[in-house]
Amino acid sequence: MTHPYDVAVLGAGPAGMAAATEAARRGAKVVLLEESPAPGGQVYRAAPPGFVVPPDADRRAGDALRAALAASGAELRLGHRVWGLGGGPLVRQGEAPVPFRIDALPPDGEPVTLEARALVLCAGTHERIIPFPGWTLPGVIGLAAATILLKAQGVLPGRRVVVAGAGPLLYAVAAKLLKAGSEVAAIADLATRGEWARAMPALLARPDLLARGLAWRAALATNGVPVLQAHAVIAAEGVGAVERVRVQPISGGAAESFDCDALCIGHGLVPATEATRVFRAAHRYARESGGWVPVLDADRRVSVPLLYVAGDGGGVRGAAAAPAAGRLAALAALRDLGVLDGRAHARARRRPALEQWRAAQAGQAMARMMALRPALVDAIAPETVVCRCEGVTRAEIETALDDGATEMNQLKQFTRCGMGPCQGRLCGEAAAELVARRVGGRERAGFATGRLPLRPVPMEAVLGEFDYADIPVPAPAPL
């Protein structure tokens, strides 16, 4: 194993790129690990190597962060899938903490293990999807998935598309679809006009984002796209793939049907807390920040020493707020490692702290719009599959709750909900809400204990080449 890094950053989205840049510029030995082949994250995602996509505002913002990163001296490990985390506080009782350990799978398939004294987690979010009849039909994809297809791959999710769910991504996706040549059959927005009106003052903090949102809306109006406020998708239907989507006002009333070959739907973003759960950090439930989030101080420190979280993984605030958060985390790490003294740290953090605060105002308003909407959970039909990996329906979850399951780990045991390869990332929100209804809230329902691997890992990668004699079989069990 090589000499430990001062700082390892996981995830090269805007928070991770900025964190690695800041730490490396100040002389720390930094490694940034990213699963994708290029840095960028979801919003600033780069096109695959060899693809040239016409630039937009996001591309330019991403390029600036990428350029700074490239010049910073941080070691960039792309295409690295991090599956194992350890070290830090995870030692035997009484032993001193050790460096953090990171197990990753590079593109060549030869596993690597790195060590770092401080660890900055920039894992971002995954998309919340509250199940409805037909959500498992091919052709139904996430809103975030649609942006990746459109912006990074340059591929249309469908030729005639219904866009549904909550948050600004709805309009971003719809506008992009139109521009790229798709027909947008309808937009079904869960938010009321009133909710959007109430969000306006906060959006004024970032006039650039506001202007862009208004431009999207104008494009939709010009093209005569039906924008249905306060509407929910009640079913996706079709034989073998989605062919039509049924939409209904959330207050009830007549449903409308829209023919389509794709449905792009998302019910908000959920902070990815797998890594902080693995380290047994303190978490709190913050609905308006997307769900369970690690408890953070103003400098992005987690309750575990030398562990930091930046970006939406610490609570949804949007890509614009992420770089400043990344810089704050990096500065805190350097302070805690003794690279920066108290005065230098206080001076250096002033600007990112202010920037983060400002961008977070707008981000928070959008996060609120994307927060979990309990009515969607109430509407899940008994026979609807909630956990796709294990084929667990709402009715099966309710029966397990009748049988005495009182929290998420127990629900998992009683039903296998969340035990499959996605490890509850897709079903976790809906399942947790169903538990919460019975036990009096998400805090009581808890969350599934963090487990490794963080993502399914091919056995081949763990095994490597070995002889039987190399296996360090422990002393035999007693006879």
């Binding site: 005495g404 056995m459 095994l463």
Partner: protein, 369 residues
Amino acid sequence: MAFDVAIVGAGVMGCSTALHLARAGMRVALLDRGAICREASGVNAGTLTMQMTRAALIPYALRAHEMWLRMAEWCDGGHVLAVACPGLSVAFTEREAAMLEERAKARRAAGAPIELISGGQAMEIEPGLSDRVLLAGHCPIDGFTSAYLTGRAFRPALLNAGVALFENRAVWGVDREAGRFVLETETGPLQAKRIVLAGGVWLEEMAGWLGVRLPIKVLINQLVVTERIRPVMRTVLGVASGLLSLKQYANGTVLIGGGWQGIGDRQRGGLAVRAENFRGNVRLAAHTIPALRDARVVRAWLGLEAETADALPAIGPIPGVDNAWIIGSVHSGYTSGPYFGKLLAQAVAGEAPEMPLFPIDRLLAMEAA
């Protein structure tokens, strides 16, 4: 008002003891600081194998095997998807073959119908097996459960039998007043005429409540599961040393266990997988069933196992404290758990148990020495 008996710890042994005592007519309180069967009883590898059971426990494990397979009949329909299948314990080296012979002999003497067969014969029973096996112990009585279902399986039967089940109610200590036990709990005192300590790795602390010093070792066992894959095996597989347990469930997932150690302790529970042991365990598994190379690992976790100084169970009365009993700390305790609970219930109810218990006097004497 006092319960006839308070049982502290709702794992498989506490649940079985509670169920049998309630059916014998006692008013039973079953308390756990967490949810039913959420610790070792709910996260273990669900192995019902004789070839990993200590020789002295074989007669018990054989009876428990039968109980697991017929659980629905005695547990009001509750079950753990128990499957009966042959078991193989394999040796890859001459040294392991010698160990296997010795161990098979001892277990056979204790009543497990284990025969030694060649690698070739083993491959006829288990076509997925590596062709590098020199010798195998074959036991037609073997099988496995889905241990994660254990709490769900016991719960309705306990309630039907009238057990007062108090989940998420931690016990802090025990006083004795006027011939009764007063359990100090999170939500107030609870009185009982008798007490059964069934707290797994936390038995050491519990025994301390009654002034008894009983050291309990804590093992932090690692487990690994793959995602659903095509059928690659149809037996329960182990190795001569006992450091592998391997089975494929009906849903296609393959569970890899064997007691490789992770990081954790009694206070904080299982904390982290030890990377080198994770790799060692799965290498041993893939060496045994080569088709596992093709699978993906979905999850690894840790379960705490209790062990006494002589690695034999602690089941019986607590010396010097009338009406106090202890049950637990069994190597492969899940395998024999329901039967041990039944036996202790017989003793607590004043009957002669149908098989001998494992009183702790021997352990206390070792500790005093």
